[in-house]
Symmetry: C2
Subunit: 423 residues, 2 copies
């Protein structure tokens, strides 16, 4: 991604008197005209503090779902270019209405659609990637004090047609715009007030994190925490955009996603995520010879089925059991792909199981501290929880366990890693 | 209005085997996905006949009203540029969905938004006028057999922002596109099946007209018949676009609006229109001296209040009563504008009356036939209906009468001019 830009290099920090901010509001914050007016008040406050503000908006809650349903009801062929024409209209409405609401408060504001800026994307309609943002005009107007209200989720393809960025794409719009406009911070307003050490609906002693590194946030997002879209975190990390996740309903500081060196007191473990979107398949008694893994995973890849965790048990009589996980939505398809190859693969049985959960312990501190994985295994063992599959990365340990132990495991691990809030 | 065009001159007539058609569908024809699919079937039929088709769509019924209400609820300041961003989204949705519905039937189709063609307008947001349409690419694709689904009601202003053409503007989009693309005919699909000699809900013996001249249609539209927008008829007349008004629900020929020389058997009177949107103001005992009319109508014009019919009675003692009509929606404003000038104008009283109706007898045959007006006055006299104000044009006689006589007058005139359908 590159930015066409003509303005002077900006060197600001978030604490300076005057800052450039991107504020992104999601659909629940814009669900009706009353809430849009509340958002306008929130934006005005920053303008009154002397800040330059660009706002990125989602569609009103429910709108995108309805538009998507219409396209599905109309045609199973699903021309993604027409899909984009239809679903992008939701953000067009909120951009115009919010600009009106700001003007009504006496704030100079105008709406911007993806094609007007333009936010140029690749040609992959329905899940396009942003390639460039022409910011010269936006930059001039922000300097002049005008608020830019940008329709999120949409761009302009090389074919001159509207593209959309995929579900949750407005987060990506906001981070990309923050990078292009060299914003001091990108505030993502949502219905939670920040990133927690664990899901507070399950772990009552979960704590809101003041700060979290990009790497950790990326793992949290891809391991099931639904606060930010994975792609927007990747983009923030690549362009060093300081992102704050905060509530659009209550006025308290949120969680800052930033560089490791901005975070002074680093915990070894920052958070514990879980994902119920996993399913497990065990291929029993598959011949234990070179090339068998390729023979199994090749057909799945051909059908665009991603495999996540993999484990193979010890061979007996030249045969072994192979266990792996796929997205729960892909389970049925994965089974039928493999059943079709049963003879060629030579396995005895397929055992699908969607009654599993993936629990992940995440923290950049793991890089320099041993024993994190060991503490996880020990804690689960003490609670009598059997670990089915394990996978690790530099800053993460994930285990697959039976779904019924989800809450027990989350609470036990949260305590074991010293994350519990003080009473 | 001019057209940027590169294609060869087209010389076709509507009866030739292959024609180029514009089809415009209104909001009730596109009210839900099921109806949009029905519209797609209707379009496919023309494609299968070998015709080239461009479709112009309105928003789903109710959508524009809802979007307009949101802008009003948000801001009384009402920046027309943001209004246009919001309300133009309705046609964007139907354009995309209809393109999908056509593709689902195996018809090659793509949607076009105003800014994509572009349909260039002036800068008057909220009620812009079309200035140019770039048709080269559309023309190429029509020749290739692709159906163009064009979002009606919208264009691109010189400021690079979306404009809208005012309520009912999709009719104008369709006629402008027909002119630019040199279409053989512009079919306006609506919830009535054509233009009638009178409102068939009142005059049960009203007949559907096979053909009507532009001039008559223009008078019918501006005298209260709500079938076509006045502006779209003007444009059709100026560019000699053959327009057919027909039903989107029942499959029968509609009414062709065309040149006088296309209409062989011309009636003296083609139709009788009425308008309840009028209100009458009588300014009593105003000094009868030069300049008094200017003194009354000047302030009204300054407040953008249009005056339609005017009559002044015979002066008595140097004072006369002046009666005129304004749009009913302007009545209160007109009264307060004049009351504010009571002293300067020197009248004795203002008598507003919104309990009136304007009845118009319309026909190009009047040009060559005397006695049309006389027959109208005689007929109304015989029914005991008092005429309050009269105005005439070359092809129209209008009278203002008490609203309670509307139905009686319409039926009596319909019979008197020999318009009644045979039993």
């Amino acid at each position: 991604m590159w930015w066409a830009q003509t303005h002077n290099k900006r060197q600001r920090d978030g604490r300076s008197a005057m800052a450039r901010l991107i504020q992104k509001f999601g659909g629940t914050s814009l669900a009706d005209i009353a809430r849009i007016k509340t958002v306008a008040e929130r934006v005005r406050r920053e303008v009154e503090h002397g800040h330059q503000v660009a706002v990125v908006v989602s569609a009103m809650a429910g709108t995108t779902d309805r538009l998507v349903a219409w396209t599905r009801e109309t045609s199973r062929l699903h021309d993604a270019r027409e899909y984009d024409v239809v679903v992008s209209s939701g953000e067009q409405v909120t951009a115009g209405v919010l600009a009106l609401a700001l003007q009504d408060l006496g704030v100079d504001a105008r709406s911007w659609l993806g094609w007007q800026i333009p936010i140029s994307t690749d040609r992959v309609h329905g899940k396009a990637r942003i390639e460039a943002i022409e910011v010269a005009e936006l930059d001039r107007r922000l300097e002049r004090g005008q608020v830019a209200v940008v329709a999120g989720f949409q761009g302009l393809g090389p074919d001159g047609r509207i593209t959309t960025l995929g579900r949750g794409g407005s987060d990506t719009s906001a981070v990309a715009l923050a990078a292009a406009l060299k914003a001091d911070r990108c505030d993502i307003f949502t219905d939670v007030d920040g990133v927690y050490t664990a899901d507070p609906r399950i772990v009552t002693r979960a704590r809101k994190l003041d700060k979290i590194t990009y790497e950790e946030m990326l793992e949290m997002a891809s391991q099931g925490a639904k606060v930010l879209q994975t792609r927007s975190v990747e983009m923030a990390m690549n362009h060093r955009v300081r992102v704050q996740v905060l509530s659009s309903f209550i006025d308290v500081p949120g969680t800052l996603v930033a560089d490791e060196d901005e975070i002074v007191e680093q915990q070894i473990v920052s958070g514990i995520a879980y994902s119920r979107d996993e399913a497990k398949i065990t291929v029993q008694k598959v011949p234990d010879r070179p090339g068998v893994a390729a023979a199994i995973f090749g057909p799945l890849a051909e059908h665009a089925i991603n495999v996540d965790m993999i484990v193979q048990n010890v061979s007996e009589d030249g045969r072994a059991d192979l266990t792996f996980t796929v997205a729960r939505a892909d389970l049925e398809r994965a089974v039928s792909v493999l059943e079709a190859k049963r003879e060629a693969l030579g396995f005895s049985a397929l055992k699908p199981d969607s009654n599993v959960v993936k629990i992940s312990v995440i923290g950049v501190g793991m890089r320099s501290h041993a024993g994190v994985a060991q503490k996880m295994f020990q804690t689960l063992f003490e609670k009598g929880i059997n670990i089915q599959v394990i996978s690790t990365s530099e800053i993460k340990v994930s285990v697959l366990i039976a779904a019924e132990y989800t809450e027990l495991a989350l609470r036990a691990l949260h305590t074991a890693y010293g994350l519990d809030a003080q009473e």
